[in-house]
Symmetry: D2
């Protein structure tokens, strides 16, 4: 429903020839397109901008050629998120076959890379848990407060793991569970370290444990940073406000007397907002940084569109000003 | 976010003086208004259109005066839904104090009352369960197929019962329950009978049992009509298509090979769509009519806005073309 | 944990050789058995009683031989539920290959067939939705109140459809849905008609629509019976009390001032109770009969054990007096 | 259902005179008692053992007198959990009025205090989040691995916050939320520090953030301990096995190829089990200690009964060997 964009081609190998609304029946009455069987290259030849949503490791097979076609690329995979090719063997287990392309991609986080996005042609959209973690920790990194290890505890809904059926995602087994699916070694850690290191100017180390909880959409990250001096809340307000004060999609949820005292996925689901909060734990000199997003919007498609808006010179909010639903 | 409408005043006695986003924190960043303490009459004096969302029985205290102020009224309560004043003692237990006003209100269901809405000044918005029931049964009524009693079995989310805390709505007691809160005598039955009688031209009798199920939003109504002759699916397709074929917000969900074979609240939540389906049970000559809506949108605010669009001559879809979220 | 029973063999082709607690990790610390790869016949040769939980249509391949081994059989499938062989083609689409065996099986519902169970050797355990429907409607049938069609609207949790992963049962697609998966023609209808016909003495017709709702366990059936004379609540109390007054696992939930006014799966999940309620709708002379069970216990394994207790002469409550959890 | 115990008196001021099953309708058919209006002292005079479940700060008003009546006391409140009276002002904000009594109470955690429980007369039952945290961290403390701050991230269901209705616990607001209700300063931290200090022999510091997630029962705690030397999994297995290897209610859930790879509330809800797991994060020399319990059983009533069994010389498992339900 973006006023400046027209969807020309939607491709799917699995559903080629079917109406989009047959596969996504909620979209019935909103889209009349059928899925084409185009290769990414064929699809790219028909459009100005291509959004690539293929598996990690698959995007890299197509991007080199498409990048020479004069088409702007917005890639949802992890294949172009790292600036340093050496990160690929560490976090993904393979050597990057086109390391020169990495420098041409901009990490699609407008709040941190707006100027680069304005002149970009290729955008790599951040991972969902990485997004929530980076948004909430970046002001601390910029303020020089992350000297030790930042510890992220992530809670995410089931949509974060895709739509492939398995016994693990079978409703009866998944309902009411709190599943720690990645206690350590989650691949998004690499992205978080990269971005916090950029914003802080020093190498920053992160550890993370990821849990899936009993809901479909949304992320809350609860991050801990241990500081070596006494901090007060105005210090943190300054750090966060100076970084995000004018951002259209960043909100601070800090309402000690309200119903929602801190960020909660319930407040963002259905929207492109990222909600942030922070607390000082004086018992142990710990700063708790909270971030919450809709993993399918601000954690994926929303940041893709917002970044595109910046790249194309559109109003950054176009197509993205949906109200969160809350009562759902 | 309606392009032709500006919200001038939002009133609340309980939250007077507070920012709207303090009470509805999901709206932070989207609305800067504070709640005014205006009486309905005071609020009405500042606007062209007033949406009244006060308790049943309370609206009638204000509407007579406001109706003389030249302000168009869209009333969410039940106070002006019946055409026959005699229905109020039966279903609500009180005599209507201003029976003459009833004929000036149009039942806010554009698909059934579009022509009247075009020249209306006062709109009464239908009840939520009534809406789903009427939409799904009206084509059968119009086709003369409801001769006996129509039996409605309704399933609705918790938001249908408002936001007042009680032990019955306490999360630990409400979660995972299937609660039949109104086995018989539900007040929406009166509305359903009224509208089906209008469309069929004969007095139509309805019974209904209402259950609240383990979700926040959405309604599914499963209605049974026993017919006295053999029916075939094309007969029903004709009945439904002739009534709703060109409606922008009515969809047929009838996909025997699809993931969603019939209407399901999951497909409409977050949108103004009403999804319909129908089945013939040859074992007992029963027609099953299915309807599903978002009770807070097509079952309330959405129909209010759609009806206003018709009344004001706006494009009927303005402000209402939100995509259902499905994965939530 | 039944004091009179020892589990000697548990078989599984898929998990042969694995510990039971590897497949059912909740049972860790409670059972040390491994799954054997025995055929049903081999397993039967090692025990006094065999519980068969194989797919419909598969049980019939083994039962004839096992029935001649002097082993008592408790069959969870539908293969021996009907008394009339002619019902198999109608409801299951195949001719029964051993119609003579049908008369040797007793329908495993102690409240309706206790005397037959005492001298039984072979038990056929009722279907889950059938159980809730029959329990709630049988007193009306016995009282001669079902003359027309009984209309059952069933709501069941996801565990009713087994544990095979599919896109339809994928958490993200199944969560928050209200899915009418069988508007008509559900195979349990045959069982309900059989049992109600037996108890009433006249051929009784039933129709049913089955919905899966957003929970894992539990069933609520809301059934409608239209009566041709005026009824009062004491008439119904007499009908229900005379049938179930002394039953250890039947409870009446009829508490107009209580938190739980009517049966609700939340009150029975985790137990062998069946909760019943009834209402008279004077608007249309309809009786609403409510039944609620845990589909995996009173709707399956619980009735199997209770029936076994009767057959074996054990205290009928042995192994079954678990408290429902409610807050879950 | 404990074979050695008879419930003589159940008291309630709010529900005095009502049947217990009127307030807890799931217990209908299982208990015939009515709630008495007895004071704790009156109730104590009729029994050998009193379970006190009154608010924090209220128990202390009754215990001194009851302790002189020769009645054994099992107190669910926090009023006797600390050994050091100085902890009360820190964590609860009040001076303890009877500090001499503290040394007479044993912290009701059989796995850590079995010998003391055998000769105890007074038991103080641990807090729910404290229990999960202590069980999972104690082996690390005992092995001398907690030198810095242990960081606990807790996820708990709604039943942890009691049954008092409020807008915050209203179903529509609570459903689908991930609410960090105590980012720092949670009162259970004091208990955790006390017990870990006892088991390690050195003063141990803990910080914790507590979240309520979208379920009713269950806790998962994910705890991080940073170690200063390289650890291997056998080191941890030794630490955990030597402490809990023979415990009837402690299970290790560590199944890399299984459906449930780590502890998950879904595996314990409905039972007295505590499930434990541990992981080494080599990226930052972090040990992740996982604990999961049913907060209403092993986190409250279950530990109370297990401790009573030890105190009374009963089989420790009596009344507690319920199977977790998992599919719920």
């Amino acid at each position: 429903m973006h006023p400046d964009i027209q969807v020309k081609v939607a491709t799917s190998q699995q559903h080629s020839g079917e109406y989009v609304f047959k596969v996504h029946p909620n979209l019935k009455g909103l889209i009349d397109l059928t899925f084409a069987n185009d290769t990414p290259e064929e699809a790219a030849s028909k459009v100005d901008i291509i959004f690539m949503a293929v598996p990690h490791g698959s995007s890299i097979e197509h991007v080199p050629k498409i990048s020479e076609m004069g088409v702007r690329i917005i890639d949802m995979s992890a294949d172009f998120r790292f600036r340093n090719p050496a990160d690929y063997p560490v976090w993904y287990g393979w050597e990057h076959p086109a390391p020169d392309l990495l420098s041409k991609f901009v990490y699609g986080m407008p709040e941190l890379h707006r100027e680069e996005l304005k002149s970009a042609h290729f955008i790599s959209v951040p991972g969902c848990i990485a997004s929530s973690s980076i948004y909430s920790l970046a002001p601390l990194a910029k303020a020089g407060l992350i000297n030790g290890v930042a510890v992220v505890d992530a809670k995410i809904g089931s949509s974060g793991s895709g739509n492939k059926p398995s016994i693990a995602t079978h409703f009866s087994e998944r309902y009411n569970s709190v599943r720690i699916y990645s206690p350590s070694g989650h691949r998004h850690i690499g992205e978080i370290e990269q971005e916090l290191s950029i914003v802080s100017g020093i190498k920053t180390t992160v550890t993370m444990s990821a849990h899936s909880v009993n809901m479909v959409r949304g992320i809350l990250t609860t991050s801990s940073v241990f500081v070596d001096r006494e901090l007060k809340m105005p210090d943190l307000w300054n750090a966060y406000r100076s970084m995000y004060g004018k951002e259209p999609f960043v909100r601070f949820i800090m309402d000690p007397n309200g119903l929602y005292k801190y960020p909660d996925p319930k407040l963002v689901v259905g929207s492109n907002f990222v909600d942030l909060g922070f607390v000082i734990d004086q018992h142990v000199r710990r700063v708790i940084a909270l971030g919450s997003i809709d993993n399918l919007i601000k954690g994926a498609a929303g940041n893709a569109i917002q970044s595109m808006n910046v790249m194309e010179g559109f109003d950054e909010r176009e197509g993205l000003m949906m109200s969160p639903m809350r009562l759902v």
